[in-house]
Amino acid sequence: MAWLKKLSGAVIVLGGAAAAAGWALSAPVRFDAGAIAQLGPGDAAKGKRIFYAGGCTSCHSKPGAQGDARLQLAGGLELKTPFGTFVPPNISQDRKDGIGAWSEEDFANAMLKGVSPSGEHLYPAFPYASYARMKPADIADLYAFMKTLPAVAGKAPDHKLSFPFTIRRGIGLWKLLYLSPEPVIALPDGTPDKVLAGRYLVEGPGHCGECHTPRDFAAGVKKGEWLAGSVAAEGTGVVPNITPDGKSIKDWSEADIANYLETGFTPDFDSVGGAMVEVQKNMAQLTADDRAAIAAYLKAVPPHPNGYPAHKPAS
């Protein structure tokens, strides 16, 4: 993924900076006890919705998994970058190889703070920079739902990163710059609930901005070009602009957007492709209200020109 490439570069820069700016600043921050008390007992039925909104299975099931196998979160997918390969780990309920032994608090620290139970920083290839905007109650529900999923034995392979990307401590400074629970788009008072619900789903669990927004020098999402589209993973393709100025989406109604998320068909009956196929499969599991809310929010975000260069057909 192109942004992962940048991310790796950023890890170098920030790794060095971490050394200079001080070890203390880059220390992992866990939750305090008060915030944990807010979590409360989760509801597994509600957590299923969050699981699909969050797209956990797209990264954590075995590559190519279909049907029920999508609930076996053994990891193993390869997120390739020229600097190395990130491999999403086993997050099934296996106590040894997965996260079956994790407490709710451990889970919340990973999702909202990007910190592992042993107190290390997690790589932001795990999109916690978006998940950090999630409500504690939704994290609790998600935790309860994940408890109902099968335990699958077997560790996923390690990331194949080269020095200095192997140093997790550098991520601490990246977090100071980019980790915030605040919404990206400030909406005025009186904004309809539907749009607010859509903002939450898109900016938080849906992590749409991780792919659809261009990144800066340090691989942080450029909030000033939110959802303007970006050069895609493979380097050749693009992830389209989905602000109201996006080439296709500007002619789509809210119902068209919701239908695309449900069925994968565009209004002119092209079919969803690329990395969006997995996302759409997850969106199809949400309620019609959730999809309508996402569509309403996409119509309400500030329009931007494309966050990627114009295509010049090679000939």
Binding site: A232, E234, T236, G237, N259, G264, S271, G274, P313
Partner: protein, 145 residues
Amino acid sequence: MRKLVLAISMLAFAGSAAFADPIQERQALMKERGKLAGQLSKVVKGEEDFDAGAVLTTLKALQANAEKFDAEKLFPAGSDQGDTTAAPKIWEDMAGFKAAEDKFLANTKEAVASPPGDVDGLKAQLNTLGGDCGACHQSYRIKKG
């Protein structure tokens, strides 16, 4: 004047008889695929009434479209360049690409062999067929902006 008219009609004839360009030809087949899927989708969404005969005709047209789709011929080496959204992966993994098309063809045949009796049946079939579109577009197509 007459010459001009003649020239235009010959051009039009040439256009409909055969595409010189495999890129245009495959895109035309895909567009037709989209149109047919769109007709089925209108029925599923309740914008049009369920008419078993009309639905079967559309499914047959989808099967015919899939049968016409000769991957080797439509995706000759070098046709990843130009105004196309075909991904380079097609030429790296022609076997996988063909398998994705074969799956789509097999599912159109199955749909024609056991046509849906009501909207729910059609919805399930369109889900399967739409899944085939997405599965192929996921790996073998890229947007270029």
